[in-house]
Amino acid sequence: MPDALTYILVIAFTTFLVRALPFLFIRRPITNPRLKQFLDFVPFATLAAMAFPDMVFSTGNLLSGLLGFLSAVLVALKGGGLITVAGAASLAVLIAELIL
């Protein structure tokens, strides 16, 4: 069996490769309108898909997870910034977990 350091280097290098390939191949602004529109949507689709449903399941308790998620959405809709939204979700989960 390879030693720990070899594993660590393989993990790090593979991860870097996945992250770096797009930067190596795409050096210019993409001009094709459909492709550009696709790329404009990608961040929103990625972030939304990451937040839900994983955030709801992340606490191991559906109710506290759901409360955290809903608090974040509500505070963000009310115009809350990054830290306010994150704080509201944390607080909701803390309270829910303490009561439940």
Binding site: A4, T6, Y7, I8, V10, I11, A12, T14, T15, F16, L17, V18, R19, L21, P22, F23, L24, I26, R27, P29, P33, R34, L35, Q37, F38, L39, D40, F41, V42, F44, A45, T46, L47, A48, A49, M50, A51, F52, P53, M55, F57, S58, T59, G60, G68, F69, A72, V73, A76, L77, G80, G81, T84, V85, A86, A89, V93, L94, E97, L98
Partner: protein, 235 residues
């Protein structure tokens, strides 16, 4: 007036605090894989990915071959391809290849969220600022988790874990309020992500891969369904 680097450090600070706590659990997985605190911290210093490192440490603990470990890394980390593609378009046009590769080194869910939501083009120095405060904390938390095990109470880890997810919501909600297509993209991505969580076969995939599939399908469909937007409609 703050420099780009300083602003990046400032904006990265809440993420850094979140990382410090979340990487504790990563340290616990590292300990199970038989790593020392320094080895685990080194892994975190040069990798910066929670799901990928979890998968890697688990593979290491099970004695899986290096090739299989590498393949698993690619699969779990596939969503970073999408994020990196997004960042290639966001970064300043005059950024050098070295600068781009330095950014690539630390494409994480959270730094991507902050970088992509930055007004105008992304200055590499802003990204370095975020890296400067987040990477040491990621490594330090991993170290502490490996050496001391579950140092933080479970309830605190849950609250912090949720805070990192909440940042994604904070980033997507304002543009979704302004643009109907963006709103529909977000709702569809969440719906599909939920569906993939339960569907046979896809439910067994890693969560990172499910995110990549959902984002690819939704953004792809949206690019053709919606009429072409004007330049700054939803950028």
């Amino acid at each position: 007036m703050k420099t780009e680097f300083q602003q990046g450090m400032k904006d990265g600070l809440p993420v850094a605090l979140g990382y410090l706590a979340v990487s504790f659990t990563l340290g616990i997985a590292a300990r199970r894989a038989g790593l020392t605190g320094l080895q685990a911290a080194f892994a975190s210093l040069i990798t910066n990915t929670s799901a990928g490192q979890f998968a890697g440490f688990t593979a290491m603990a099970a004695g899986v071959s290096l090739l299989e470990t590498a393949v698993a890394q690619v699969v779990v980390n596939l969503r970073y391809v999408l994020m990196s593609v997004g960042l290639t378009q966001k970064v300043r046009r005059d950024a050098s290849l070295l600068q781009r590769l330095l950014i690539a080194f630390d494409v994480t869910d959270e730094l991507f969220a902050l970088g992509i939501s930055r007004e105008g083009a992304l200055d590499p120095r802003y990204y370095y600022g975020m890296m400067a405060v987040t990477i040491p904390n990621w490594a330090l938390g991993t170290f502490l988790g490996t050496v001391f095990g579950a140092l933080l109470p479970d309830i605190l880890l849950k609250a912090v874990g949720v805070a990192l997810y909440a940042m994604f919501i904070a980033v997507v909600v304002p543009p979704a309020k302004k643009s109907r297509p963006v709103l529909l993209v977000c709702l569809s991505a969440m719906g599909l992500s939920l569906l993939l969580h339960y569907l046979p076969f896809t439910k067994d995939l890693s969560s990172g891969l499910r995110v990549a599939i959902a984002a690819l399908l939704v953004a792809g469909a949206a690019a053709f369904v919606f009429p072409l937007q004007k330049e700054d409609d939803h950028a």
